[in-house]
Subunit: 194 residues, 4 copies
Amino acid sequence: MSKKIIRRESIIQAAIEVFSKKDFKSASISEIAEKAGVADGTIYQYFRNKEDLFFSIPIEKTNEFRSQLELHLEGISGALNKIRKFVWYFLYFFKTNPGYGRILMLEMRVSRSFVKTETYGFLKQSVGQVLDVIIEGQKEGVIRRDTDIYILRHLVLGTLEHMVSRWLLKGGKYDLLERHQEVSRIIIDGLKAA
Amino acid sequence: MSKKIIRRESIIQAAIEVFSKKDFKSASISEIAEKAGVADGTIYQYFRNKEDLFFSIPIEKTNEFRSQLELHLEGISGALNKIRKFVWYFLYFFKTNPGYGRILMLEMRVSRSFVKTETYGFLKQSVGQVLDVIIEGQKEGVIRRDTDIYILRHLVLGTLEHMVSRWLLKGGKYDLLERHQEVSRIIIDGLKAA
Amino acid sequence: MSKKIIRRESIIQAAIEVFSKKDFKSASISEIAEKAGVADGTIYQYFRNKEDLFFSIPIEKTNEFRSQLELHLEGISGALNKIRKFVWYFLYFFKTNPGYGRILMLEMRVSRSFVKTETYGFLKQSVGQVLDVIIEGQKEGVIRRDTDIYILRHLVLGTLEHMVSRWLLKGGKYDLLERHQEVSRIIIDGLKAA
Amino acid sequence: MSKKIIRRESIIQAAIEVFSKKDFKSASISEIAEKAGVADGTIYQYFRNKEDLFFSIPIEKTNEFRSQLELHLEGISGALNKIRKFVWYFLYFFKTNPGYGRILMLEMRVSRSFVKTETYGFLKQSVGQVLDVIIEGQKEGVIRRDTDIYILRHLVLGTLEHMVSRWLLKGGKYDLLERHQEVSRIIIDGLKAA
DNA sequence: CATGAATGAGGTTTCATTCAT
DNA sequence: AATGAATGAAACCTCATTCAT
């Protein structure tokens, strides 16, 4: 039983490696199969088709992101402190998962078909945590109430995703985490109540 | 002679239409040729290959963006006022050019090969104007000096691009410009000197 | 021991259901296995391969055809009366076994490999009864002697098989038996001695 | 212009050769392309897909059948004489076109999807000539009126198709035409008015 | 310059069959 | 005897690009 889970896992791992180097169309099932150490046909025992495999990647990774994030937020009080931690964790996560980053940021987040997927809903829910913290901050009186919360979220996620995307496009040459404090500072200044 | 230019233009127009509906691989030269009213082979008289045609799209559009932006900035003094105008114009431009927006934001900006293109350099230069304004603001003393200017640019472009991307992915259903003042406000609060 | 026979039987039944809806290549072992309530691999305990299973279908059905036909012919005297009964029974049998009819008439009878099978010999022997009746009729002096008996058989079986095939292809919408007397009449007029 | 027609023709010829040896699924586009002396992709310039190519075969051949038949019937008067000629011509045509015979009799006439095709309607119309002759014979008073004309057609076509099918399945070893007079005789005796 | 017919490489997916449990 | 996970071969079709007219 766990054999199936392990094999499924190894196929997803291989898929991350391959899809992070090539786009969806260019990546081949054969290459993934070979990397996973299984026959081509075996992949179709675990996933309906190539797209299903592709869209299965974020589900696991999002789970990881979320559960780790929760651990990191634990014991932190104050919405602004949580934002600081979120900024750090967001950059940390993609610094340590650049392959997945390339898939998520450069392929998936931008695909028309992805938006229709359940996975997309799942992912959205996950970054939805940011909204909760923003609302929390408004209640605390530390985050501005004169601006739509979705606009505030654009500020947070836009800045961070832009940083990660550009970093990935440059080939991950510099340290993504280096300036996380500066980033937190300007984001928070944008969010803060007057 | 100008016949050539007109024909080239009509091919690019057709390409924008097609590429804005389908991704690079799915879009076909035949469809573009048909829309442009030329034979398939003719396209290869004007562009080296499909990629060359694809990457030729932003050059014109970027010129348009830049020259119009300059007009709009004319007569405006003060870096922060310029930022406000830039925010407005950025949203306005993509509101009125959604097809090109889809190509630039959802396909090109995210493509590995694009980064190596001259077009990329050209485009970067174009949004580089933001950097100039930031520096101008620092000199005026209205924009913070405690933060790397590239990080500040991530804040501006990240927020805006995030807004436009999400808007495009949602199918452009709501009004992108509606909240431009709120956006300006929070971005500027993030940039402002203490 | 009889458990094996029952299981074999249920696999054949499932095969009839599946093969009557899909042609040989389109029908899948998995679907048959599922319908029979066994694992894919189990089928290979009872049949060498897919073709073996396919060609095993007519053996049983032919036995049924033959034994029932004998009952129906019992007590009938005169070759022409036997022909009339045969015509009726042939149409009756396929009217009540359309699934098997589709397999036999539209798939098997027409397959190159089937001709080489033992099953084919068995089936031929079975319709060979027609030949016996023809010869009987010639001895009685009621069936013409100026024509090769194999040609006469073409007349009988050709007409009947054509009727059944077209009926099956039309989806079995009308009553196959309705005109059996007219059919008998013209076939017999073709066979009759001057 | 005629170049396209010639090439189309040569692809159909190659298709007849290949499809007459292998069934639809086993036959490969590559083999047909090679035999036709064109690239695989070229076939798709002339036919939408494999099925379209397959079903295009009878259209030409049916035209040939029909026009030749008309020539042969010319100058023949009397429905029964026409039936005799038709019997001869039917056997003659398949004797001289065994490859096409295998395709039509053993593959196509028996395929569920074929029945839905335009080609099927076209083919039906073609053998519909038999019906006309039958009606003509009834008017002349030489063909029985006590039997449904479609049943009479089953007698004619069923006998002939059965002969051809069996002959093809046996590998075309004996002479199909040898006994055409006997065949005519028994068919006509079945059709004749009392 | 324009055309458009021809090319041919390349990859996903299915499914009969096997064999370790 | 039964299972069912794993295998891997095999082929249709698309489409960017070329080149003779």
